[in-house]
């Protein structure tokens, strides 16, 4: 404790600065938060949907995983069911491909119509390699979209399909 006595003027100055500071902070904080809000918000892309597929049970053979979630469009709420072809690659990483053909949007099947080790589209005989790469000479012009994947409590989570850029 200093021996210098605090003068009335000093005391008032300190208190006013302190209280004023709190008030200013109280006013500024919400403003700053509002300004930052659009940056902090999680985009729809960051949304993951949990599937019923256990990650441990995945093999190198693509398996069909169906998952559904509720989607709200203005006044219209609906259950959307989506499908993914999921497998583990040589490195043991989980790969989830969208089954929507890049030609006109049919659903592709793994080894459909006896096409070994390929994805087959029954509509116009489109073919894709296991990686999702389109096979030249068939109608599709782009590789299959890929789902971002995540693991939660041992279950697979899938995000929003993104276009692949493999050559």
């Amino acid at each position: 404790m200093s021996k210098q006595p605090v003068s009335r003027r000093q005391f008032l100055n300190y208190t006013l600065t302190g209280v004023g500071g709190f008030m200013a902070a109280g006013m500024l904080m919400p403003m700053v938060r509002f300004a930052l809000d659009p940056v902090l918000v999680q985009g729809a892309e960051g949304e993951y949907h949990t599937t019923k597929q256990k990650v441990d049970e995945l093999t190198t053979t693509p398996t069909r995983v169906d998952f559904s979630y509720e989607q709200k469009d203005a006044w219209y709420t609906s259950d959307v069911t989506n499908t993914a072809w999921v497998y583990k690659d040589e490195k043991g990483e989980v790969v989830a491909l969208s089954p929507v053909c890049k030609h006109l949007g049919c659903t592709v099947n793994w080894e459909g119509n006896d096409h070994k080790n390929q994805f087959f589209c029954p509509c116009h005989n489109g073919l894709y390699e296991k990686s999702g790469k389109n096979i030249p000479g068939t109608p599709p012009t782009r590789p299959l979209d890929k789902y971002p994947t995540n693991v939660k409590d041992g279950f697979l989570q899938l995000g929003k399909p993104e276009p692949q850029t493999i050559a």
């Binding site: 259950d79 030609h103 006109l104 949007g105 049919c106 119509n113 029954p122 116009h124 109608p139």
Partner: protein, 155 residues
Amino acid sequence: MNWNGKDIESFQQQKEYIDTLLMPLAPVSFENDMKEVASQYEFIQLLTMLLEKQFKGRMLLVPPFSYIRKQTEEEKLTALNRWADEVDKAGFKHKFFFTSDSSWKLAEEKINGSLIWVPSVPLEHMEDSYKYSLIEEQAKQFVNIIVHKWQQNLS
């Protein structure tokens, strides 16, 4: 392809690839069998929607052909074939008519197109997840029929 602005736009651009038309045949009645026909329609609607999803790039799902159930066979048949002719003119090679109304089954050979008659399952008291797996099982069989029909025409 669905019957909406966006899908029809891509249909018009990719016409040569979309050669199959899918049309539900839906009876309507306001008498004692009202619930029965409504339930049939629910089933057929889910089934055709799923098939459209599977074969989006080659198939156009059009609004259902609806008719009064009491109408005579003659009337219904003439009206449907009038539709079918129009569809032929539009350049479709395959026409699939899905229905749960067994009266069509008796007139099958007079219909210009492939009739697929599915006995409907009452879905109203079913749990959603069970409902979808049931429809999916059904749809799988029709997937094979449709693919088979397409391949027949190739050879």
